[in-house]
């Protein structure tokens, strides 16, 4: 296990730190969480600052306009920006982490020229149209239809859990182009303009009260055939290329943040006297152990990805990702449950950030593959148990 950083990596860290120290005080005030256009503008402004400083698309390949950073440099970037309290990627999440890398890997030269630079500059926002009301864990069973009509697909169906749909310019959309084929083989990947006629977005209120997600209804939306990335009916493979781009760095910032919050919870407990309860203290000690190991596991997964890249491999983390997500999603819930114990009566005030986080933490064991699906993946692909 290599836990040390090279001189080059430390130099990168130092340069980043100094830049963050310069620019963060100049940021405008954060918008109200309910002000979606305001949030988009704020996130776009931050992305533009990253772009001007040469940090945009750090982990993207150089020929796609990125910096071609190694997984470890990406880890350092995420760690340092979180520690410095820099803005989260926000509205640019899908563009930078899913749609962009997909286009970089599978798109034509023309598609790359059209779509990638605006993502890096923060000019265009993407959203994701994958899940459907009837296709959650079993994503490949999706039913949104796309019928070829001349130089366009005519798309009809509905999508759900679409973050930033209200403010997005483009949607990376999975559609069924061959209803007769086996479910994984009849899917195509389209870039759909969100202002096309027939697209209706309805905000979806979560149990946390926020409108992070939206439902999207598509009624005979015409999407040019030239907006298809990859071959027709090859969209499932194209999408898996996207998902594999995470390289174990997906939760770096969050683990750093959780460790900071854990310290804040301990200090709050000390201040309000709940620290005197040995059971609570010991619970905090256990969580400190879990999160320190989750951080090490992250470092390990990322350095494994880097080693794989150097050896000419894919750089896609092996077993670590599912194992990490299974433990992390539950540990995050335990953290905010413990924070609620410390808060006492204040835990019932949704105005307290820990209460809001406690509510949103409930999605972690469901989103991006439920814990039960993750366990199936671990059991079948890592441990080699038979499919049920």
């Amino acid at each position: 296990m290599d836990l040390t950083y090279t001189a080059e990596q430390e130099e990168f860290r130092a340069g980043l730190r100094s830049w963050l120290g310069d620019v963060l005080p100049k940021l405008p005030p954060r918008p109200d969480p309910r002000d979606w256009p305001g949030r988009r503008a704020y996130d776009a402004g931050w992305q533009r600052m990253l772009y001007d400083a040469g940090y945009a698309g750090l982990h993207w390949p150089v020929d796609a306009g990125g910096r071609g950073a190694t997984p470890v440099q990406h880890l350092i970037f995420l760690e340092e920006t979180e520690k410095a309290g820099a803005p989260y990627v926000g509205a640019n999440f899908v563009g930078l982490l899913h749609a962009g890398p997909t286009i970089a890997a599978e798109g034509t030269d023309e598609q790359r020229r059209r779509w990638l630079p605006p993502v890096l500059r923060g000019d265009e926002v993407w959203c994701q149209g994958f899940s459907e009301p009837g296709a959650g864990s079993d994503l490949a069973s999706l039913r949104t239809r796309a019928v070829r009509d001349g130089d366009a697909y005519v798309v009809t169906g509905s999508k759900i859990w679409t973050s930033h749909a209200e403010v997005a310019d483009w949607c990376e959309l999975l559609v069924r182009t061959d209803p007769q084929a086996p479910k994984h083989r009849g899917i195509s990947w389209l870039a759909m303009p969100m202002d096309a006629p027939g697209v209706t977005v309805r905000p979806l209120r979560t149990l946390a009260g926020s409108t992070e997600f939206a439902e999207m209804f598509l009624d005979e939306v015409r999407v040019p055939v030239e907006n298809r990335v990859g071959e027709e009916n090859d969209g499932w493979r194209v999408t898996m290329v996207t998902l594999s781009f995470e390289r174990g760095t997906a939760f770096v910032g969050e683990v750093v943040a959780c460790r900071r919050v854990l310290g804040e919870v301990a200090r709050a407990a000390k201040a309000n006297g709940s620290w005197d309860d040995p059971a609570l203290r010991r619970g905090l000690g256990r969580l400190a152990a879990e999160f320190s190991v989750l951080w090490r596991l992250t470092q390990w997964n990322v350095s494994e990805a880097e080693r794989s890249l150097r050896a000419g491999g894919t750089g896609v983390p092996g077993t670590g990702g599912s194992v990490f997500k299974l433990r992390y999603s539950h540990a995050r819930q335990e953290l905010y449950d413990t924070a609620a114990e410390v808060l006492g009566p204040l835990a019932q005030d949704t105005g307290h950030p820990w209460t809001a986080e406690r509510l949103s933490s409930l999605s972690y064991t469901i989103a991006a593959g439920t814990s039960q699906i993750q366990k199936n993946i671990v059991a079948e692909r890592i441990l080699g148990l038979p499919k049920g």
């Binding site: 296990m1 836990l3 854990l262 310290g263 919870v265 301990a266 200090r267 000390k270 040995p278 203290r281 010991r282 905090l284 000690g285 256990r286 400190a288 152990a289 879990e290 320190s292 190991v293 989750l294 090490r296 596991l297 390990w300 077993t319 670590g320 194992v323 299974l326 433990r327 039960q372 993750q374 366990k375 199936n376 671990v378 059991a379 079948e380 890592i382 441990l383 080699g384 148990l385 038979p386 499919k387 049920g388």
Partner: protein, 358 residues
């Protein structure tokens, strides 16, 4: 190390050791004599010594292997995997941190050095040549408590809390150990007087901090390494019980299919893997960093992984797992014997919580 253990301590040897202890226990009723069942194979112990198990971290100039703690946790993980019996941690620490004939004998695998962390039970005292005692640093007064009680004192240990004593005559009462391969004694409330150690070592019992034999023995470091190496043994056991459960789930058929095809069984196995990987990461990270807090985290997670994986393995095995013949119970019992006592676990948790306030 895995090859050596597979060749010299295969499953048949494990079971033979269990049966030997069993015969003594049920046959003569004389299991209470100090000396106990011969669960440690001295020939194998010497082979381990020759392979560098105990001298792993000594410089090559001193006849060691010249490796570090990260390599040590790997070999301890292998030993834990096959449930290798014997005072592995005590002998390794004596070879690494003491000087003199006992250290040399430990390094070569000629001597067995038990490890005592009062008031916890001491493993393999009967078979051991010497006992390395890690008491509370700074305690000077002997307590008057019963064996195994919190009042057990360590006055003879001097200011550092570290002592080395002959094993025979070390005041302790044998108990019927839950683990057939780890005979246990509860330590008494007094320490033995200084005298020549047996086992051919011919040195005086060392107790004071000024004693040259213990000169390099930093009690904080010894405790931390004892915790980490024990955690590595636990990780090895947790990995083995996962492998056993997976193999069984693939082969055992019920309702016309392997039981591993049922999600309820799959999810048990997936949980075992998560526990194992978390504990293993914790142990490796603590071995590389040498950090006290990371060691505390490693101990907590490894104790948990070993005992809970062994239980889940039993669950996957079903009724067969409840038999003496299946190895599952040996892993459950070893995990219990190796697990930190309640006091140590609390201390680790408190340390980690306290660190959050820094």
């Amino acid at each position: 190390m895995r090859e050596l253990l597979a060749g010299r301590f295969p499953r048949e040897a494990l079971r033979a050791a269990v049966d030997a202890g069993d015969a003594l226990e049920t046959g003569s009723g004389g299991a209470s004599v100090v000396g106990g069942p011969p669960v440690v194979d001295r020939v194998l112990w010497r082979e381990l010594g020759e392979a560098g198990f105990f001298a792993l971290r000594l410089p090559e100039a001193d006849g060691g292997v010249g490796l570090g703690l990260p390599e040590a946790v790997l070999v301890f993980e292998e030993a834990g995997r096959v449930l290798l019996p014997g005072p592995l941690v005590g002998t390794h620490l004596a070879a690494t941190h003491l000087t003199g004939p006992v250290a040399a004998g430990a390094a070569a695998g000629e001597l067995l050095v038990a490890l005592a962390l009062p008031p916890a039970p001491v493993g393999h005292l009967g078979a051991a040549d010497a006992v390395l005692v890690l008491g509370e640093p700074g305690s000077q007064e002997l307590g008057a408590g019963e064996p195994g009680s919190q009042e057990f004192g360590s006055g003879e240990l001097g200011g550092t809390g570290v002592g080395l004593f002959a094993a025979d005559g070390y005041p302790a009462a044998e108990i019927r150990s839950v683990d057939p391969l780890t005979p246990l004694h509860l330590p008494g409330s007094v320490l033995p007087p200084a005298r020549a150690l047996d086992g051919g070592a011919g040195v005086e019992a060392a107790s004071a901090g000024a004693d040259p034999v213990l000169a390099g023995a930093d009690p904080v470091l010894l405790r931390r390494e004892a915790a980490l190496l024990t955690a590595a043994l636990q990780v090895g056991s947790a990995g083995r019980t996962l492998a056993m459960a997976v193999q069984h789930a693939r082969q055992r058929e019920q309702f016309g299919r392997p039981i591993g095809a049922f999600q309820a069984v799959k999810h048990l196995c997936a949980d075992m893997l998560v526990r194992l990987e978390m504990a293993r990461t914790a142990v490796y990270a603590a071995a590389v960093s040498g950090d006290g807090f990371e060691t505390a985290a490693a101990r907590l997670l490894a104790d948990d992984a070993a005992s809970r994986n062994a239980r889940d393995c039993l669950q996957v095995f079903g009724g067969m797992g409840f038999t003496w013949e299946a190895d599952v119970h040996l892993h459950i019992k070893r995990s219990w014997v190796l697990a930190a006592g309640r006091g140590d676990t609390e201390r680790h948790e408190e340390e980690l919580a306290g660190e959050l306030l820094q």
